[in-house]
Each structure stands twice: as structure tokens, then as C-alpha cells.
Point group: C2
Chain length 226, copies 2
């Protein structure tokens, strides 16, 4: 289904882009972009309702391959991912146990959970890598947009215990657990408790670009920014 067919479908008979079921396209967040951004970025959002459907091994490999090709300071590639799929219940529950309870509530239904971790020092010199977190963020961003291209959605969580992850997942010293990640196909928001369902249905919001883009020095409005 092309993008314009999908837009038409939304008006006449909303169907999911990944599985042709009715409620999913209705759940595509309508973001109000001020400029025409790429559809992968426009379509991406962070759901809490995931379908009871496994992620194909080929797709798991592809999202990891996308993360692999992110740029990094001195090409250090500090990122690591500890992945757990629901068909390995022991692994899955070990990763799930790292999340705060509020996130466990919905993330237990995602078919894939991960912890992103980062090496804090350069392999070559052993000096601190100022961009370890930053570059890991880039790798997860590439993974996320690749996931979007495959009909998958990612929800990142700061709400987990890095200490539990460190211990339970046997993450070595000088590597730090950064983010928890849930991934899967979109589910029915009706499966969520009321408070989360309302957040699921709310449109995405952001600062305006005027609040974070400056020209030449801090606080100066760019002449080209309208």
C-alpha cells in the first residue's frame, strides 16, 4: 500500500499498514509537523499497546544491522544490546524484571524487550568517551526508524533500574545500562488500563523549532526559520 493509498484508506476505511486490521491506522499518531518531514519520522511514535505477535528473526537482524551503521565518535560504536524475546521466557522475565512496575504493566505484552548499554571508555586508549551516551542514542534512533520501515514500533524507557540490569544481565564494569526498549507490532489500545489508553490516543507534542534552533549564537532567531 503506498502512502497516498494509505491516506485514502484512512479516510474511507482505516486499515493497519502491517496487518490490514481496522484499528491500527486510526492509531497512527497525527503529528502536526510544520514542514514536510520524511514519512519514517512522521509515522514513528512510542506505543504501549503491542500485538500478541512475534517479531520475525529476519526483522530482528535487520534492526540490529541498522543500528550497526550509525556514526560514532572515532567510529568507536560503544553501543550494545541485550535482547529478550517472549519465546525465551527466562531471558524475557529477566529483562522485564529490570523495568519499573509501571512499565512492566504494559511492556510485559511486547514480544521483544532490550536493554541498550554503552561502553564508557575508548577501546584503544582507555580514555573516557564523552559521546558514549550520545552515540548510543544515535544507534537506537537508526534502529527505531528501521523498525518503523518494517511495520514495527519501539518504545524506549528511562524507567528501569540500571543497577538491576547491571547485575541480572551480567553487564561488565565500564559498560553502563542506558535505556530499556520494547519493540513489536501495534496492539489494540483497548487492552491498556484507562490512564495509559488516554495517553496512547493523545497526539504527539513538541516544542516549536524557534525554541531550540538559533543562528550564530545562543538566543538569536535564524532568518530562514519561519
Amino acid at each position: 500500500m503506498t502512502s497516498s493509498e494509505r491516506n485514502n484508506a484512512m479516510i474511507t476505511a482505516p486499515l493497519c499498514v502491517c496487518c490490514n486490521r481496522a484499528y491500527h491506522v486510526a492509531m497512527e499518531k497525527r503529528i502536526s509537523a510544520a514542514h514536510p518531514i520524511h514519512e519514517l519520522i512522521a509515522r514513528r511514535w512510542s506505543p504501549r499497546a503491542f500485538a500478541d505477535r512475534a517479531v520475525e528473526p529476519q526483522k530482528l537482524q535487520t534492526v540490529m544491522e541498522a543500528a550497526r551503521w550509525a556514526p560514532s565518535s572515532s567510529n568507536e560504536q560503544p553501543w550494545h544490546f541485550i535482547v529478550a524475546t517472549k519465546d525465551q521466557p527466562t531471558d524475557f522475565h529477566r529483562v522485564l524484571s529490570c523495568l519499573v512496575e509501571k512499565n512492566q504493566q504494559w511492556a510485559q505484552h511486547a514480544p521483544v524487550l532490550m536493554i541498550a548499554a554503552t561502553a564508557l571508555h575508548f577501546r584503544k586508549h582507555g580514555t573516557a568517551n564523552r559521546h558514549a551516551y550520545y552515540d548510543t542514542g544515535q544507534a537506537v534512533a537508526y534502529m527505531t526508524l528501521q523498525a518503523t520501515a518494517l511495520g514495527l514500533y519501539i518504545h524506549q524507557m528511562a524507567g528501569f533500574s540500571p543497577e538491576t540490569a547491571q547485575k541480572e544481565l551480567q553487564i561488565p564494569e565500564r559498560v553502563e545500562a542506558v535505556t530499556a526498549i520494547a519493540m513489536g507490532y501495534l496492539g489494540d489500545p483497548q487492552q491498556l488500563p484507562e490512564d495509559l489508553r488516554q495517553r496512547e490516543l493523545a497526539p504527539g507534542t513538541r516544542k516549536s523549532t524557534q525554541e531550540f534552533v538559533f543562528e550564530g549564537r545562543w538566543g538569536q532567531k535564524p532568518v530562514w526559520l519561519t
Copy 2:
């Protein structure tokens, strides 16, 4: 030009995707992805040779809009960008002066320079934001892939002085300069000095996914990863 037309063009008569000039497509880095990743990710790389061609205001706005829609911890959006275009020479040289000399050598020819900066504390509570760098990395990743979609290329640099940027660009306390960024259209690698030209022509390299993807706990090879 569609992707397959471009592929054919590459075989018969290499032409740039953005300006139809001959040498550019030849300069698309051939990455050896082990799995079929999205073409925006596969095409992206970090050149040092930029064309003497301004970036259109509409494209500048669009790459900033893409950064805007990146996800962030508690939707904090800690990222900020101080942009300088060559047609504002005072601003441009102020940003250029923050780079280390080796980067100034080639980045002076880019039509757009930026410093990405991040707010280190949450606006609401004033507590430290553990994901300030990480989320700024995500925003720059979205910007980078949007740039790729527009025929633009981005080269990020750790090689700049955060202290100089802080002072010269009047970045306030509790906000930190993170990365320098050059953006523009691809240029002719012949314009680079010999050592940089060789790096420009070398293919991209990465660790294998086996080195950074684990299952269930650190060091355990995923059954689905080949």
C-alpha cells in the same frame, strides 16, 4: 529518480542523486550491510568534501523539523542547535573557530556549520537528565537521515572546543556543547589534501553485530542472529 533507476544509472553512467553530476554517485560509500537495511541508512556517510552550494532555507527548516520529532526521556527535548550558514560570514567564522584546526581545514568549505548543545537538567524539576546526551544523539540522527532524504550529507565532529563554543556562542550554564556538525551537498574529493582524500574514498567499516548484540544476558549469542 527511483531507487532502481539510480542503481541502473550507477552501472551505466554514474550520476549524482542530488545534482546529476558524474562523480557524486561514485562517491556513495559502498557499505557491506549483512542484512537489507533502509536505503536512507545505507546511503548515509560522513564526507569531508562539500560542494560550493548553499543549502536552501526550506531544507534547513525541514532537517530541524525532523530533529524536533525525535523521542526523548519524559519528552524533555533537551537538544539545541546553533546554526551558521556561509552567507552570514561573522556567524560562520564564530562557529568555525570552535573546531580543532584539522577539522577547520575541510569544514570551512561546508555551507552550514552547527553546534549541537544539550540542557543537562529537566525543566520541570531541575534534576539531572541522565539522557540529555543520549536524546540529543537521537535528534541529530533524525536530522541526519532527513538530510540524506534531501540529498544532503552531515559530518559530525567531536573535534571542537566545548569551552570555546560555550563562551563564543554564549551558551548558558547548565547547557553543554556536545557536537559540531557540518552539512551540505557532496563535493569533489579532489579538493581534499591527500590524507583526507584517502579516508574519503575508503569504504565504511563496522564491528559485526555478533560483537554488540546479546540475548538474555551479556555475552550470550542470540539464536536468531546469523
